[in-house]
Amino acid sequence: MRFLRCADTGVLVEVADLAEVIALRAALEANPVPGVADVVPAARTLLLRVEPGTDPDAVAEAVTGLPLEPGADQGPGETVTIPVSYDGEDLDDVAELTGLTRRGVVEAHTGAVWTVAFCGFAPGFGYMVGDDPRLHVPRRGEARTRVPAGSVALAGEFTGVYPRSSPGGWQLLGRTDARIWDLDREPPGLLRPGVRVRFTEAEAS
């Protein structure tokens, strides 16, 4: 575990892997650390936003002492199914990067079981990890200035669905009409940490 300062406003905790991120997030939820206002889990790190005047070293010390139980956080444990029209602009590029055919990419994406590891980038944007390493691809060299809402995409070890149109650098596989983020729903996000996700091919309309 490594502690990196974000001036006087945060402590970035770097851990070995995603499993440790998930375990530490659960530990922080069970044992809140004084002065920590918000926790932002990510792929290899947890950012602890601290209240003004908090001593970052004291936070680091408290976090080091937390008991970590692997698999402590099973999340809500629910499974959602997201229908996708696989007609994304980057499907050919992804096929080339993975060595699969276009069809093979679709089959791998729908065949994998995905789990939301954390949220970020935008409200309701869940970073989902799967069980098929063939789908690991880099982000695009140039980000797009506008990716349409509902775009289903890949980057690194993750898949994600853009909850609303925004700039983005992920590889676009297709799109979905599923309501990923809805403020009239409680909770508003469909893809919360711990939720399992299956993608299916949408019926052609």
Partner: protein, 289 residues
């Protein structure tokens, strides 16, 4: 006391950009929801202090002035932040001062000569419905109250019990041709060459017009990375100096993305964040330790 909640601010003009802001949204980072809130938290707090409001009462944050409102019912207001010339029904009025607007009075904000963001606070706060616990508009996330447009009626909340205990707050001028911002290196300064870190601390940067509440995009010497590869996305704080592949830094402000995939070379100290938020396009920026 029924039927008295009819006080409101009627927006007549919103200037280049006006948003409703409070101290921000807490506790929803796990859903990917950022903090948002007043970009210059100090000026926002001052407006509320002058009016004896709770610190999280919502104000109007304007960008380069241009806001005009009409009082619907008598309201008490204060304008802080970038010092825009103020007129109440055509007569000059002072900033950082408690102003009593009778029903129908019009407050007009000109364009500030220095600084970028001014805050119009109202006693009782701007009482639009909160979204996920905050009245802040997050322009990146598209969360929170709609942008006030001409014709909008912004309800004013009930006045707090305590009366204002001062009518004027002397303040240092906000903004200027150069912003000197104290930083702490990291969390990812090890992704950059030593020369890049020296360049950050000695180079002259300038705020470009491609700047908003998300961040101030800077032009100036590029910062060279010491390593290639991709950084796994990680949480960001306001004040982060993030360096995209092009090498010119972006200084994140209130509506910054919750997570980002480019390395942060240094973070501006919280005390200097208001100064960063007041740096208008063309402002020179120097970073110091």
């Amino acid at each position: 006391m029924s039927g008295v909640r009819t006080r409101a601010l009627e927006v007549l003009a919103a200037g280049p950009m006006t948003t409703v802001q409070d101290t921000g949204r807490f506790g929803h980072a796990g859903l990917g929801v950022g903090r948002s809130g007043a970009a210059d938290a100090a000026s926002h707090a001052l407006a509320n202090r002058l009016l004896a409001n709770p610190r999280d009462a919502a104000t109007l944050e304007t960008t380069l002035g241009g806001l005009r409102v009409r009082a619907r019912g008598p309201v008490t207001v204060a304008v802080t932040g970038a010092e825009a010339p103020l007129r109440v029904d055509g007569r000059g009025a002072a900033a950082n001062t408690v102003l009593h607007l009778p029903d129908g009075a019009e407050l007009a904000m000109g364009v500030p000569e220095r600084g970028l963001r001014s805050y119009l606070g109202v006693r009782g706060g701007v009482d639009v419905p909160p979204v996920l616990g905050s009245r802040s508009t997050d322009v990146l996330a598209g969360l929170g109250p709609d942008l006030p447009v001409p014709g909008a009626l912004l309800p004013v909340g009930p006045a707090p019990a305590a009366p204002p205990n001062t009518d004027h707050a002397p303040t240092a001028p906000v903004g200027g041709p150069e912003a000197v911002l104290r930083v702490v290196l990291g969390p990812r300064d090890d992704w950059f060459t030593e020369r890049a870190v020296d360049t950050l601390l000695s180079g002259r940067y300038e705020v470009t017009p491609r700047s908003d509440r998300v961040g101030a995009r800077l032009s100036g010497p590029v910062l060279e990375r010491a390593r290639t590869g991709e950084l796994p996305s990680e949480g960001m704080v306001a004040g982060s100096v993030q360096v995209p592949p092009g090498g010119e830094p972006v200084l994140f402000l209130a509506d910054h993305p919750v997570t980002g995939g480019y390395p942060v070379v240094a973070v501006v100290c919280s005390e200097d964040l208001p100064g960063a938020a007041q740096a208008r396009p063309g402002t020179r920026v120097r970073f110091t330790l």
